[in-house]
Each structure stands twice: as structure tokens, then as C-alpha cells.
Amino acid sequence: MVNTLLLMSFPPLLSLLILIGATFLPLPAIAQQNYELSGFASATLGKVTGKTKPTDNPSGYACPCFWSDYGQGSVYESSGLQFKPQSKVAAQLRVFTNDQKFYLTGQVISRAVNNGKVNLEWLYMSAELNSSLTVQAGKQRLPLLQFSDVQDVGYSLPWTHLPPQLYGWETVNYQGANLRWRPELAEVQVATNWFLGNNRTNDTPYFRANFGKNSITDTRWGQIRGLEAKISYGGVSARLMALNTRAQYEYDRNSSTLTNPLPIRVRTMGISVDKNNWFSGVEYLNMAHINGGDKNTTDHAFLIHTGYRYGKFTPVISYSSYRQKSANPSEPAESSNTAAVALRYDYSNTSSFKFQLDRWRDTSPEDLKSFHGNSRLLSFSYEFIF
């Protein structure tokens, strides 16, 4: 346990452990082309057509604007056709032993929104202890919601971007370890994932909305403990996730200091149905920031969507909503919703075109509308995997 805590406190040690693990992969086992190289890319163009111009926008973005992904700081500004917010290219390498019981997975992403800078998104090792139990360690995606694992993979999604009210938070990855249990129970599939770790994000894209596009912040989620559980039968799945962490922030790395660690509790639940080419889902998130007394705030967000696979076409409609609630009733709280309609066309077995129309409605009190305002976004994307 001490070793686990030590590893979680020092991500470089964890990386070192993974490298050592990779070094000790038996060479003959990986000599017979026991690797998979795959990747994905999205080229997305978007144009904002807004109605309300924010009057006091502190973010430095040309608004009315559309935040398509808070987690990556992806913002479509009202300055013509935009390519950068959602366009990206990524490669994933998986190296495994002959029996595929032990493998190492790494994923790098280059995002246009970061001017093409290549980031190591994931690096983790997996060991299958038996047919239902897998232990993993390294840098991975935080399993907050149904699409979190593939939130970057445009080709895997029916939208050009995920509904921003529910997807995209201050922390999306973590360094740590997890234990997956997937027993085979006839036609009922059960999957649980217990995870532990921490994460630090410098210049958190999420906070650019509040502190400006050039803000230099520091976000630390320590002592992350979480459990994800999913049960599926036929085409129906139900999912629950609970996560506790202690968060510290530095809102300006030049002039402020790190805040004291305060608890955050995240709870999500979702139900999805996939039958006869219809697919639908409902997801809800509750994120409580325990800052003490009147300073407590809670984020509520939900998404409802439905779509239909019709040959090469997949139309989908969705509605997502976000509402912040403060323990202090006089504190103005942000709220917004987005309605979207998207159409996917499978151009080939590995590529697709999508067209999407979003309508963002800022439902915050008047004195907070300056952050967003209302906007519409038209976006078109070409996505492929390899």
C-alpha cells in the first residue's frame, strides 16, 4: 500500500516502473510482430453564428463563441471559419506477449488547438490475471462518463464534438493503477473498474473560460479513488461511477499560491439502449466541490441523445444541459444548454464525414452572461482511423 501511495505521489516513478516492465517483456514474446499500430485523425471546420455578443468577456476569445470541449480548451470564435478547435491526429501503439496476457499501450496526440504540439495522452501496462481480472498501471483516461475513453476519437462518435455541457472537465486523465473485473455471466455482462491515482495539469484548458486564453494555472487532483460499474443485457446498459478526490489550484502561477486541498465528489450515472439500429442514451453528472459552508458548489450536467443507423448514414439529435448550484443562494450561478443535430456519412469502412448544427443557449443570470452569450455553430468534419 505504501508503494502504491508513493507511486501515485510521484508520477515519474510510475513511468519508470512501466518502462522497467516493458524492458522485462520477454523478447521472444514480442519478436513475432506482437504489436498493433493504430491511429485516428479529425479535420473539422466550424463557423459560429451568434446572436448575443458578450459585454464583459474576460477570456480574450472573440465572442460570441462556442466551447466545444472545455477539457482541451477548444473554442470556436466568431472570426470566420475555424479549423483548430477539434482537429487532431493521434497514434496508438500496443505491444503484447504471445498469449496477449501482458501488454503495454501508448497513445500520442497532436492537437491543432495546441499548435500541433505532440502530447503523450496515455501510457499504461496491463496484465490479465485471469479471464475476468485485469490490472493496469500508468497514465490513463479518467472514466468519468460513457464516452470518456474515446472522447478524442471523432470517428468513434456520432458527433463532430461531444456535447460540451457534460463532457470536458478540469481533469480528464490520471496517473495511477486500476483493477478491472469482467466476469462472464451468460447473457448478462458485468464490468467493474476500481481506480486510484492522481493528476496534475499545468495551464488547465478548462480554466481558460474564466481566467483567459493565456492563463497560467495549475490544477492538482490528489488521492483519486473511484469505482465504475456497468451492467449490460441485450442492447441495454446501465452505468454508475463514483469518484472522490482532493483538489488544489493555483489560479495564476506567477502571483498566487496553491490552495489548500479540498474534496471533490463526482457521481455519474447513465443508461443506454442500442436495438434494431436505434441507439439512445441518458447520462447525468453531479460534481460537488466541498469548499465549506456557503462556498460549497455543485455542478449538475446531463445529456440525452438518440440516433439511427441507416445504411451509411447516422443522424443523431441531442440535448445537453449544465447548471451550477451554490450553497449561497445569493451567489449567481452559471447555466447553459446545447441542442444539436448531426449527420454522419460513412465514406468508407475507415472514414466518415459529419455535419453538425449546435445551438448554445446561455441561461445564466444576466450578470454572468458575459462569459458566453448565445451562439450557433455549424461544423463539418472528415474523420478516419488507421
Binding site: F40, S232, G311, R376
Partner: protein, 142 residues
């Protein structure tokens, strides 16, 4: 925003006209190793190909084989057995691969390669043209 409504109507019309998927009519059979005497339900085979199940009823890991995506039997198997187009199956597997949840079925080049691999591996499952089946493998009746 009348032009947006017009664009949506136009898109819908285009879908109705252009979406008609190609029909492939190859007859195929699902095969497993002859020594696999377990009760093999087709629903389990479907889950193995979708990546949601990885084991046979006795707990041993299943090895699945696929034909090339342009093969008529692969197209018919996806459409008639999995109720998805080949492109839809790629979406399913892109989710499995990029989330690290599962490793896709191994792609082989021909019915003969699939049959020989199923014969060689006790835990294997595959599908081939009905005309290519012989008594070296066990056919799972549909």
C-alpha cells in the same frame, strides 16, 4: 434560419435516396474447433465479435477470426449475423481498441485460412462460406 431548415430537409432527402446499403448474399456458417464440445450459443458468438465477451462458457479465452472487409462473406456476416454494416463494426472496434478494452478478431485472408486456424486452435471461432465447410470443424447451427 430558413436556409438551415432547407439544408436539413435536403440532407434527409439525400439520406433516403442514397443510404440503401449494398446487399451481399453469400451463405456462411459459423464454425468452432471439433474438440469444443461446449454449448455454444449464437448470441455468445455475436458478443465475441462485438468485443463484449472474451471467453467460452468454461472460462477459456476465445480466439475469433475475421475475413477481409471487402469479402462478400464478411459483409454478409456483419449484416445478417451482427446486424451492423462493416463500417459500423469498425466504429464498434475503434471504441474497443482506442479505449484499450479489447483486441479485435484476427484478420485472415481466405475461408481456407480461417478453417485451418479453427482446426489448429481449440478455442477458436470463425465463419466461412457454407460451400467450404467440411467435417474438420464443428458447425454452429443458426
Amino acid at each position: 434560419m430558413n436556409w438551415i431548415k432547407a439544408l436539413l430537409a435536403l440532407s434527409l432527402a439525400f439520406i433516403l435516396v442514397a443510404a440503401n446499403p449494398m446487399r451481399a448474399s453469400e451463405k456462411f456458417v459459423v464454425i468452432v474447433n471439433k474438440e469444443n464440445n461446449q454449448v455454444v450459443e449464437l448470441a455468445l458468438v455475436s458478443r465475441i465479435y462485438m468485443g463484449t465477451s472474451r471467453s467460452w462458457p468454461d472460462g477459456t479465452g476465445a480466439i475469433a477470426y475475421d475475413l477481409p472487409e471487402e469479402d462478400d462473406v464478411r459483409i454478409a456476416f456483419s449484416r445478417d449475423f451482427l446486424n451492423r454494416t462493416v463500417a459500423n463494426m469498425r466504429i464498434v472496434w475503434s471504441q474497443n481498441i482506442f479505449s484499450g478494452r479489447a483486441i479485435p478478431p484476427k484478420k485472415l485472408n481466405s475461408d481456407l485460412e480461417v478453417k485451418n486456424s479453427v482446426v489448429a486452435h481449440k478455442n477458436a471461432v470463425g465463419y466461412i462460406r457454407a460451400s467450404q465447410v467440411d467435417d474438420s470443424v464443428r458447425v454452429i447451427e443458426r
